[in-house]
Amino acid sequence: MSGKLTALASLALDNVVAHALGYAASCAGLLLTLALWIAGTAVAEGLRAEGLRAADAGADIVVSLRALGRHAPIDASIAEQLRAINGVERVEGRVSGVVDVNGTPLLIIGVEPQRLASASELERGAAPKVSGECLVGAEIAHELGLYPGAHLALEGGAMTRVVSISGVLRADDALAGSKTLIMDLAESQTLFGDTRLTQMCLWTRAGYADAVARAVERMDGRLVATTRETTRAAIEHAANRRSGGLSALLAPLLALATVSFATLSWFAHARRASEIAAYKLFGFSGGDTLFVTVIENALVALALGTTAFLGAWIFVRGFDAPLLAAWLIPDLDLFPTQRIPAAFTPLPLGLGLALALCTTLAGSILATWRLSLASTTKAFA
């Protein structure tokens, strides 16, 4: 029995190879839709992973101030009060703001000098050693032609500062960091002409984060304490929305592609009626022909899923997912030149194969059924 099934499966493989062009034409729409879906899923998963990685690398709690419904600067003196809260281990101030460099918005982040000096995720150069040195993201370095040793004039609200680039952050650093310039906290305060801070970052003892967050908000009703878990949940939520939105967008396309596959299979299989009739003339039962055609479709699904996965990989890794990435990542160019985060894990491959199998089997039900009913008279006429 297994010998027969092996021989039938081998015939199915030969048939797929022999009818490869026909199958390729039938599957073109499915291939495109699946490749887009796998690419989108991989990018969404990549963004999720990168966001979570950034959240894990950051503070346990980020404290900001809201006044009159807007973010407001925080007075540096609050640091002492925050340190006094039970469970808080370390408090660091942070400044963030945007300056325009030759029409390119550049996110400035001012951090404590010791944090700047300990930066290790560098593509080129070294961590800043003295005041006035800073780090830049890989994307902005590429856009503005910056390199270790280069100088850059920054026009803040108060004055113009010339900074020296000591290092470039790694290209696989968080996407948000790719257009960022990280500098000494005091330098950034001078640049923006404000000694106050944008955020306070808190590190707590294990298990104290929620209690500290509640204590911070009790301390001053205008303070908003965002824990790492809240940030993670927001990142997960955003990633799920991206994936869900993409699936909702592609679902009608997939349905259309399946109908197109079913229609083309119907016509393609009609041409194969005499081939199937000849099988039956030589002892193939209806079950045998059904088995062969189902295996054919399964092989087509395998080829389809694998090709779609490879196509998606090339689309994202080779071409930075033009158009698609801009839909998933706000403020991104339609044709991005930077590395797009993507996670080509077994999940999108497995889902792609499963989807390909479902669509090809569903799309070929009628054609397969019709073939299994082919009359032997077609082979004897």
Partner: protein, 223 residues
Amino acid sequence: MNDAPPVFELVQVERRRARAPVVGPVSVSIEASSVCALLGPSGSGKSTLLALLGGVEAPDAGRVLWSGRDVTHASQSALSLLRRGRIGIVGQSFSLHEHLPLWQGVSIGLIVLGVARKERRARAIALLETLAIPARLADRRPAELSGGERQRAAIARALLCAEIAVIADEPTSNQDSASAELVVNALLARVAQGAALVVATHDPRLERAASQRVALNLPALQP
């Protein structure tokens, strides 16, 4: 004395098209190791009678028996299973598997018998060579063969899975004299091995070899 039932038996079988009889009513009994030649002019119903014998078509009246078993109302799938490895059929259109290499199409009937690929290929090539189709053509597509070679390939396919019978429609019609001789010899060799041969033919060699001749007339001329 052989008590085995006839390989094929038609009992008052009739086939109509557009309410006019194409065949019959006719009764025929074909024994193992015998040759039955269906004779008659074109359009006299030889091919239809072969189709009825092979279970390709169902009769409008009468009964069809294979080795004593009534298959008149058997389903296509049941007939396929009964034909499997036992009855080889050659139609006039050959119906070769154009998308497969020749050896694969010729050995198609061996797939459902579970014969391994290597053995299928060896048996197909051996039979093709018997019918003057060289082994180098075994991997070609049927479209690359001449008409005569295509017909001989179809005969090889039938012979490969014809343990009890071969049904052939004009098997020498596209052959030159030498090739026709090879075809007749191959068919008669299978008869010598115990198979029944039912053949619609105008070939005098096959007519001479026939132990039973069924003469069919044009339906309009039938009484």
